[in-house]
């Protein structure tokens, strides 16, 4: 198939449709609205459902309903909207429903601004809603991955019966890059737990209540097992010039792109620097970081926030090596030269 | 002859059937059922098969009304 120059936010929608997504429920919010715009354009002409809900609370619950009928369902939003969705996401995790949530971050607590920040790492990686649950978090850094990881998100959501985030910043959503779209796929996934509105599935129940403490504990142990399986099987990451790296830089989303250029420039100056980019934020590439730490002397984690992923990096190597942090907030994006200065300072 | 029947261990003793029965042929009894209530009971005759008690009773399985008895 040929390439198309397309915004990440639109690549998400085409990817979702190629992956057989049947329903999109959204609510406008910058910088995720373009996803809703593209969905509104393409879902109906394929005979699929696009509906603008009355709120993010409603749209995640519409996904909850749609996903329970066995069809692929998705929504998209940004910080303030994702905060509202947390109740529904917790319910979906408890009821084991596959839902794909596209999260295009914006800046700040409260209304903040619409510039690209990464302050929502802890929200999605550590839970966000109530209870002992986890969601898988995929962090694309280019338009191609916006498409590919959206498709992957549907697959792993179904595989584990769990909500999955595609999680990135406004830059990656807004940016246009060439994307090679894969072929449309026929879905033959059997969901014998779904509510199909027929006699065969009449006794099925989609539910997160377990009144009996032992039953609930069993259910939650089952959930934790799924999360462990994800940690075993689903870790994704990218390595760049790590072979002889003494200083390992880390970042996700737009930061990883800036770091790549920074690494190239630093190498020209003779510094042995590499980049380890987590593509899955949960499951986090703990083992890979630990492996890299055997050879590396130190780490530099760069985030557009107050230092969130950096804590996971430190924990991954059991605090055995220095882990430096460089963060900008408010939507200020560091330049390559700025990061180069930081590298020189700690190298 | 129509008749009604209360399944004793499904009755919660709310007395709504007694209240609505136009013929006054249902009564509450002294004994205590498995659920811990004084259940209702058909007096044994006079049921007209109107079904009022069936629709008043909140318990799905507590009352059956046979409109025409074999």
């Amino acid at each position: 198939m040929t390439k198309e120059l397309i915004k990440g936010n639109e690549a998400v929608v085409k990817g979702a449709l190629l992956a057989g997504c049947k329903t999109f429920f959204g609510y406008p919010i910058t910088p995720a609205s373009e996803i809703a715009h593209a969905a509104a354009k393409f879902f109906p002409i394929l005979g699929r459902t696009f509906l603008q809900g009355e709120s993010e609370v409603a749209s995640i619950n519409m996904c909850y309903g749609a996903a329970s009928t066995g069809v692929r369902a998705m929504t998209a939003s940004s910080g303030p909207g994702i905060s509202l969705k947390q109740e529904g996401i917790s319910y979906a995790a408890g009821s084991e429903l596959p839902i794909v949530i596209i999260y295009i971050m914006r800046g700040g607590p409260g209304l903040g601004n619409i510039a690209p920040e990464q302050g929502d790492y802890n929200q999605v990686v550590k839970g966000g809603g109530h209870g002992n649950y986890k969601t898988m978090v995929l962090a694309p850094n280019c338009a191609q991955e916006m498409c590919d990881l959206t498709i992957h998100a549907f697959d792993v959501a179904d595989k584990y019966r769990n909500p999955v985030y595609v999680f990135t910043d406004g830059f990656i959503g807004q940016m246009m890059e060439p994307v090679e779209f894969p072929k449309a796929r026929e879905l033959n996934i059997k969901k014998d737990w779904a509510l199909l509105g027929n006699r065969e599935t009449r006794d099925n129940l989609v539910n997160s209540i377990y009144l009996d403490p032992h039953e609930l504990e069993d259910h939650e142990i089952h959930l934790q097992e799924k999360y462990r399986e994800m940690e075993e099987n689903e870790v994704m990451f990218e390595e760049y010039k790590l072979d002889d790296a003494e200083l390992v830089t880390m970042g996700f989303g737009i930061v990883s792109r800036i770091l790549k250029t920074t690494v190239d420039k630093a190498r020209k100056k003779g510094m042995k620097v590499g980049l380890l980019r987590p593509i899955t934020l949960f499951p986090f590439p703990k083992k890979q970081i630990k492996d890299v730490a055997e050879k590396a002397k130190s780490f530099l984690v760069v985030e557009l926030n107050n230092g969130q992923m950096v804590e996971d990096v430190k924990a991954s190597i059991f605090y055995s090596k220095p882990v430096h942090f460089y963060g900008r907030m408010g939507g200020v994006v560091p330049s390559v030269n700025e990061l180069l200065d930081k590298l020189e300072e700690i190298y | 002859m129509p008749r009604m029947e209360v399944f004793i261990d499904h009755c919660k003793g709310c007395e709504l059937c007694v209240d609505v029965c136009p013929a006054g042929v249902i009564e509450m009894v002294e004994e205590i059922n498995k659920l811990g209530y004084h259940p209702a009971k058909y007096k044994g005759e006079g049921c007209t098969g109107c079904g009022f008690c069936f629709y008043a009773c909140p318990e799905p399985d507590a009352i059956t009304v046979y409109k025409k008895e074999d």
Partner: protein, 477 residues
């Protein structure tokens, strides 16, 4: 339907296997609770219409959270108040199912107020049974939005007051003010006459959905003897005397005759058609690489385009990237993003590169296209030594101050005006850029134009502007 035997309807499970504990035959409801009666009427209707298999019941949060224990239907449990949204998702995903949302007054009238309002207003083809018992039963008897004035609850220990809590909310009246709902009725579970009316309303509401006629809701005034601290018999009297006085019974809306049945069209596209509709079947032309033929300083450019919103700045960048892609280069296009977006200025950043593109951000640009003076002022210092500046002399009354860069003046706005539209100033600049650098060709730009411009009638004028830009630079040489 005349039946000889009135017994547990088949809409219920024989044995409540989802109910935990030993007792799988009785409901969890208190003696005399209206929920049980309402359940019976619904289960009977599902049996009589023969739709239990197709039905999906939504259990709310409230005393009826365990609706799923009882109904021999598909079952789903929803978050507090969200059942209408969940029902919307269920019905949209599977329009052949019968979706029933069963909700209490706290669930529907308070926390889920907007969800019911909006589902009703969309005319969702679902059925809602709304149990109005003027109290929160499950959490121990707190005030509901429907609690009567003066009524004492755990959170209105001195009685509900107009000043502190306002009047009880009348859901049927509220929803009746909307155009979309098809059928709205308020009934009561009290004496036999009213129970039989409730029975008919419940049946009619379900039938409305079976007939695909849209949104139906039945509000059921329903006793909560426990919450009200009354005997079941007194609770029914209280409904008759107090609740029915404020919540008038009756049909608030009935368009079941007028409404035409509607079910969404079904479309079964094959995979080819899906790709076709997504525009993925088109094969754009390709063009050979130019990099080795052009001057060193023009290779792998990092371009910044800046100007007023409306000067086609984003489109200019878009077209450069699109054309670069047709040459099989790696490209990226990043719009100015953030506070500037609405402020009247716009800029975008474009990479065209033979190699991988790391950061898509352009800080030290090799090319600056400045469409107005603020843009030149702001971005001139960032251009690398030896870089290229194209500036719009129609809007900029000074030369670039830098002496270590190439500066090309282009009266783009005036030239565009001559062609007939100020909007094609951006295309003049593209023509100038390609003529100056040779990185893109006229053919490739024209091909990209066909892809990037949605309104085909504008293509000739855009082409004309590109040609004019080319000529302008040619004449300068």
């Amino acid at each position: 339907m005349a039946k000889d035997i009135l017994e547990k309807p088949k809409g219920f499970h024989d044995v409540y296997f989802y109910k935990p504990g030993d007792d799988k035959e009785n409901t969890h409801y208190c003696p005399g609770c209206g929920h049980g009666t309402a359940h019976k009427l619904i289960a009977e209707a599902l049996e009589d219409f023969g739709v239990a298999d197709r039905t999906i019941m939504i259990s709310p949060v409230g005393c009826s959270v365990f609706v799923y224990y009882y109904f021999a239907t598909g079952n789903i449990q929803a978050a507090h108040g969200r059942a209408p949204a969940v029902g919307t998702g269920l019905k949209r995903a599977n329009p052949d199912s019968i979706v029933i949302s069963y909700q209490g007054d706290g669930d529907l009238g308070a926390i889920g107020g907007n969800n019911i309002l909006q589902a009703a207003n969309r005319g969702e083809n679902i059925t809602v049974f709304f149990i109005n018992n003027a109290i929160y039963g499950m959490t121990g008897g707190q005030m509901a939005p429907t609690t009567l004035l003066g009524q004492k609850t755990m959170t209105t220990p001195y009685g509900r007051s107009i000043q502190n809590e306002g009047y009880p909310i009348k859901i049927c009246e509220l929803l009746a003010s909307l155009e979309s709902p098809t059928y709205l009725e308020r009934v009561a579970i009290t004496d036999t006459k009213h129970i039989m009316k409730a029975r008919l309303a419940i049946r009619k509401a379900i039938k409305t959905q079976i007939d695909n006629k849209g949104f139906s809701l039945v509000e059921i005034l329903s006793p909560c003897p426990t919450g009200w601290r009354m005997t079941p018999v007194d609770a029914k009297k209280w409904i008759t005397e107090k609740m029915m006085d404020y919540f008038k019974l009756g049909v608030f809306k009935d368009l079941t005759k007028e409404r035409k049945p509607y079910s969404p069209p079904k479309m079964n596209l094959n995979l080819d058609e899906v790709e076709e509709k997504l525009g993925l079947k088109e094969k754009p032309p390709t063009f050979p690489s130019t990099m080795s033929d052009i001057k060193e300083q023009y290779r792998n450019p990092r371009i910044k385009v800046a100007g007023f919103g409306g000067q086609g700045v984003l489109m200019l960048g878009n077209l450069l990237a699109e054309t670069g892609m047709l040459h099989d280069y790696n490209v990226s296009w990043l719009p100015s993003y953030g506070p500037e977006m609405r402020g009247g200025t716009a800029n975008c950043q474009v990479h065209i590169d033979e190699g991988q593109i790391g950061s898509p951000v352009v800080t030290d640009s090799t090319v600056l296209v400045a469409m107005n003076k603020p843009s030149l002022d702001k971005f001139e210092p960032d251009v690398v030594p030896g870089g290229l500046i194209l500036y719009n002399t129609s809007m900029i009354d000074r030369k670039p101050e830098r002496t270590d860069v190439e500066a090309i003046p282009v009266p783009a706005t005036e030239m565009a005006d001559e062609i007939g539209s100020l909007r094609v100033a951006n295309m003049i600049m593209i023509g100038a850029y390609l003529q100056k650098t040779g990185i893109l060709t006229k053919d490739s730009i024209f091909a990209a134009l066909d892809i990037a411009i949605k309104h085909k009638q504008f293509i000739p004028m855009n082409r004309q502007a590109i040609e004019a830009g080319i000529e302008h630079v040619k004449n300068m040489d």
